[in-house]
Symmetry: D2
Subunit: 105 residues, 4 copies
C-alpha cells in the first residue's frame, strides 16, 4: 500500500471540498470510531462461526470491505493531520507487543 | 507500507501464541472498535484547537501513535481473516466517495 | 423511571420474538456500543457550540432521543441478562467518583 | 430509578468541579461511546457462553457493573444537557420497535 500516494489523494479530496476545518484530530478520531462501529455492527448478532462464513457472501463481503476502507481512510487522515508516521508507529507497537506477550516456551 | 510483510509478521505472532481461535471477524471487529475508542478517548474533553495541538507534546504523540497502530494492526488482521484486499477496498471506496461528494463547481 | 416495568416489557418483547439466544452479554455490549456510536455520529462534524444548539431543531432532537433510547434499552437488557442491579451499580460508581475527584477546597 | 434525583446529584457534582464547559453533547456522546467500548472490551475474546458465565465471577461482575454505571451516568448527563426526557424517548422507541418488528404469528 502506497501511503504517500493515498495521503496525496485524500489531501486533494479534502482541499477541493474545503473540509480541513472539520478534520481536527478530535473529529477524525470520532469519525474513525463510528466507522469501526459500523464494521462491528455487521457481525453483532452472528455466532463466531457465522462471522467467519460471512465474507463468503458477495454482498456482505463488499459491505465488510467498505467499512474496513472507511476505517483506514480516517486513520490515514489522522496520520496526515498529526504528522505521525503510521509505518513507524506500527513497528514500535509490534516491538512492544512482542515484549508484552512473549511466545510460550 | 508493505502490507504483505506486515500480514506475515502478524500471522507468525498469532501462530506462536495459538490465537487463531480468538481471531474471528466478530472478535477482531470488536477489538478494533475498542482501540478506536481508546484513540478517541485521548481527545474527548479537548477543544478542537487543543486536539490539533496535542500531537506536539511528545508523550501524547506517542500515545496517539500507539492507539493508531493498534487500530491498523486489527484492521490488517481482519483483512487476513476475511481474505479481503485492503488496497482494492480502499480504491473502490475512494471512487464511491468521489461520486457521492462531487467537488463544488 | 420504572426499571422493573421496563425490564418486564423488554423481556416479553424478546420472548415473543425468540431473541434470547442472541442476547448474550457479548452481543448486547457490542449492540450497545454501536448505538452509542450512532449517537456520537450526530455530533461528529459539529463544533462544541453547534452540538449544544442541535437539540433545538425538532428533527435532530428526535434523532438524538431515539439513539439515547436505544442505548438505554440495551443497557437495561444487559442488566437483565447479567442480573446486575443498575441502581446499586450507579450508586457505587457515584461514591467512587466522589472519592476519585474530590471537590476543590 | 429516580432519574430526577440522579440528575440533581450529577448536576451538583459537575457544578462543584466546574465541568459544565466540558459537558457539551459532542463531548458527552464521545465519552459515552468510550465507556460502552470499555464494557464491550470485557467480553471481546470470550465465546458467547463465556460471556454469559462472566457475571458469576465477583470481580468481573463488579467490573461489568462499573462500566454499565459509567454508560448510564453519561446518558443521564446527555439528557440533562439536551433537555430530552429519557422516559418519553424510551416509550417512543418501544412503540417504534413494536411496529418495526411485529411478533410472529
Amino acid at each position: 500500500m502506497d501511503l504517500s500516494a493515498l495521503q496525496a489523494q485524500l489531501r486533494q479530496f479534502a482541499d477541493e471540498r474545503d473540509w480541513h476545518a472539520f478534520h481536527t484530530p478530535k473529529n477524525l478520531s470520532t469519525a474513525l470510531m463510528v466507522e469501526a462501529a459500523e464494521l462491528a455492527e455487521i457481525f453483532q448478532w452472528m455466532t463466531p462461526e457465522q462471522s467467519d462464513a460471512a465474507s463468503s457472501d458477495p454482498a456482505t463481503r463488499e459491505h465488510i470491505g467498505e467499512e474496513m476502507a472507511d476505517v483506514l481512510l480516517y486513520l490515514v487522515q489522522m496520520a496526515m493531520r498529526t504528522g505521525i508516521d503510521l509505518n513507524a508507529a506500527v513497528q514500535d507497537k509490534l516491538a512492544k507487543n512482542a515484549a508484552k506477550y512473549p511466545p510460550p516456551g
